[in-house]
């Protein structure tokens, strides 16, 4: 924990509005990006961001500095997003099990050359269940068992949703690359 961060936490614990604003300024952008990654539209992401920061300010006194502040805030944002998605019943398709296309699955694709905004749009275009599981597993780093507990689904469902998410993402990545290659050919 840096000195500034400690000062920031102390200020937020004392409910100092300037410190709260600074905390928001420091982490708001990143957390907004996370909220966007879990939702389909910006209004929902903004609601999540707002709810999450209210929780952060209300529970900042329980933060002991055992992990970086950003991780702590991030976990609150992710949990708020999950709660929001559950409320909207966006994960109704989670129980469905999908078979994966082995050929596509094996064709691993590098992300080199893609902007994060572009990749985020790919993720947001995924079916809601796939989107959530992919975010939790691939990006947040949770295990399937943990995801199963968090989303109240089976571990197998989590795995199959993730597999489907990756298949769909591979297709999107391949398509983008194909367009790139075609455009290169046309240029040459």
């Amino acid at each position: 924990m840096t000195f500034d961060e400690k000062e920031l936490i102390n200020g937020c614990q004392a409910q100092d509005r300037a410190a709260q604003k600074r905390l928001y300024d420091v982490f708001g952008g990143k957390m907004y990006a996370i909220s966007l990654r879990y939702t389909k539209n910006r209004d929902d992401a903004q609601d999540i961001l707002q709810d999450a920061f209210i929780k952060v300010y209300e529970h900042i006194h329980s933060f002991r500095g055992e992990s970086p502040l950003e991780f702590w805030i991030r976990s609150i944002v992710v949990n708020t997003a999950l709660k929001h998605l559950k409320k909207q019943k966006n994960m109704v398709d989670l129980d469905e099990v999908y078979r994966t296309d082995k050929d596509i699955e094996n064709a691993e694709q590098s992300l080199a050359g893609f902007q994060w905004q572009q990749l985020m749009e790919f993720i947001r275009e995924l079916p809601a269940g796939c989107q959530t599981v992919f975010n939790l597993f691939a990006i947040e780093g949770y295990k399937h068992q943990e995801i199963a507990e968090m989303l109240n689904i089976s571990e197998g469902t989590s795995k199959s949703q993730f597999a489907r998410a990756r298949t769909l993402l591979q297709q999107k990545l391949n398509k983008e690359h194909r367009f790139d290659n075609e455009s290169i050919k046309r240029q040459s």
Partner: protein
């Protein structure tokens, strides 16, 4: 394969590790507002309405009472000087009585009869203050000795006489006290150790700190449903016009004796199209609309709302002129006659009051072109349906654009005629359409008073899409309503 997948996941992770997008500015404003609401101190409840206050007061009184009782008891048992002197005096009296009963005893012989003061003077130092305090410390209060002495005076006397020499009365008394004090059944028990129980507490570390936060009960937040009341002062204009057809036919009245609106006039002198104008000359007067609404928030910005409203629309309508019988001087204005035409279903008495007698028609009737303002009021029951789009929804002051339609149910119309008679028209008179539709638009300023309560000012405009008259050949009416309503709204909690 797995290694490859892990690498890909790592790649995704890295891509989003630094991902950041500036949120819209109104997010922080919303957070700030919610923080303010949570920090707002609730109004203090009067202390006499709080049960806790009464319980606390009762506890204090109880404690004070108990303290007073204990204090009094301690004061009595504190072996104060007066009380101790009384103890000594009472014992001395007992001893003296014993001496008188047994004059031959050595103790009595040694004592100087009739000198109790001296005896007292001798005994006083024998029971010094420090000794008494020692006894008290040992748990043998002096008053215990008094109680025992009173209950067994003879035994005390016997002991004193049998065992103690008469010269040593302080010693005798000391012995007697010792025997009394030996009764330790009234002594307080020795302190003993209380059993100590240990409880082991296990604390587990939960890595999902956010999840813990999640499970804490959240404060209620505004839900999507709201209900409200509003009152709108405004203007109502019935926009009543004589049709061109009526003007044409009125000309015919003059030339051909055509059936005039509402009655059979012929050869009416002075009626021409120049006077029977088609201009809208209605004047809106102050009108009111009271409404009860319910609304539902579809998203952060979009909402729908409906409800029920009562509209009292007041105006003045200007009749272009009136007919008058030159012989009887009875009159009937053109506007009310036009209203009573067609398939109107008024009672005969009403028709008679509105029109000249048919026998008066003809050369005796004359048209007098003279504008006259007549009060014209309408009552409608309205069922509006609006869609709204709200700007700055997170802020304390927001504004909403409204658009939609209103279903108007005609209830009543009162038209004051030129002769002073008020023509009341209801749904049964078959003059006005029972159902009419209006387009409506408005803009509302919302001010959030608290989490659940809002107040608003709404500028509203309604324009009828249909002619209000059912089958009138001479008149049309497309009412307009406009005004600014004030309302309160309660948002139900989630």
């Amino acid at each position: 394969m797995n290694q490859s997948k892990d690498n890909l996941n790592e790649e995704w992770r890295k891509v989003f590790d630094k991902a950041s997008e500036t949120p819209p500015p109104d997010i922080w404003e919303g957070i700030e507002r919610r923080l303010d609401e949570r920090n707002r101190v609730p109004l203090a409840m009067p202390w006499w309405k709080k049960t806790q206050a009464w319980v606390a007061a009762a506890s204090v009184l109880l404690a004070l009472g108990a303290g007073a009782v204990l204090f009094m008891m301690n004061k009595g048992g504190d072996a104060g000087p007066e009380f101790r002197e009384q103890v000594i005096a009472s014992e001395h009296i007992e001893t003296e009585a014993g001496a008188q009963d047994a004059p031959e005893g050595p103790a009595v012989a040694a004592r100087e009869p009739g000198t109790p003061e001296k005896v007292q003077g001798e005994r006083a130092p024998a029971v010094s203050r420090s000794e008494k305090q020692d006894k008290i410390r040992k748990g043998y209060p002096e008053q215990d000795a008094v109680l025992l002495a009173k209950s067994e005076p003879q035994a005390v006397k016997r002991d004193l006489h049998a065992e103690k020499p008469a010269e040593s009365s302080p010693a005798v008394r000391g012995e007697a006290e010792e025997s009394l004090l030996a009764l330790d059944f009234i002594a307080p028990p020795e302190p003993r150790e209380i059993d100590t129980y240990w409880q082991t507490r296990y604390v587990f570390f939960n890595p999902y700190a956010g999840k813990l936060v999640e499970e804490q009960p959240a404060k209620p937040e505004p839900g999507p449903l709201w209900a409200g009341l509003s009152l709108m002062p405004g203007g109502f204009n019935p926009n009543m016009q004589f049709s061109h057809e009526s003007v044409y036919q009125m000309n015919n009245v003059v030339s051909t004796g055509y059936t005039a609106p509402g009655n059979q006039f012929s050869n009416i002198v002075g009626l021409n199209s120049n006077r029977a104008t088609t201009d809208n000359r209605d004047q809106p007067k102050i009108s009111f609309q009271g409404a009860a609404q319910v609304g539902f928030k579809l998203s952060k910005r979009w909402s729908i709302e409906s409800g029920v409203a009562f509209l009292q629309g007041n105006s003045t309508s200007r009749s272009p002129g009136f007919f008058m019988d030159r012989t009887t001087h009875e009159s009937a204005d053109l506007l009310s006659n036009a209203m009573a035409s067609g398939n109107a279903n008024y009672s005969d008495a009403t028709v008679h009051r509105l029109q000249l007698n048919s026998s008066d028609a003809g050369s005796s009737a004359v048209y007098i072109p003279m504008d006259k303002n007549m009060r014209n009021s309408y009552s409608y029951l309205q069922v509006p349906a609006y869609a709204g789009y709200t700007f700055r929804p997170e802020k304390q002051l927001s504004y909403t654009l409204l658009g939609g339609g209103i279903t108007n149910f005609f209830l009543k119309n009162n038209l004051e005629t030129a002769s002073g008679y008020t023509l009341e028209t209801t749904r049964e008179n078959n003059v006005y359409n029972e159902l009419n539709f209006s387009a409506a638009a408005g803009m509302r300023l919302n001010y959030r008073l608290s989490g659940a309560w809002n107040t608003s000012l709404t500028a509203n405009y309604q324009y009828s899409l249909m002619n209000s008259f059912k089958s009138n050949r001479f008149l049309t009416s497309r009412p307009q309503v406009y005004g600014v309503s004030w309302g309160v709204r309660y948002t139900f909690q989630k």
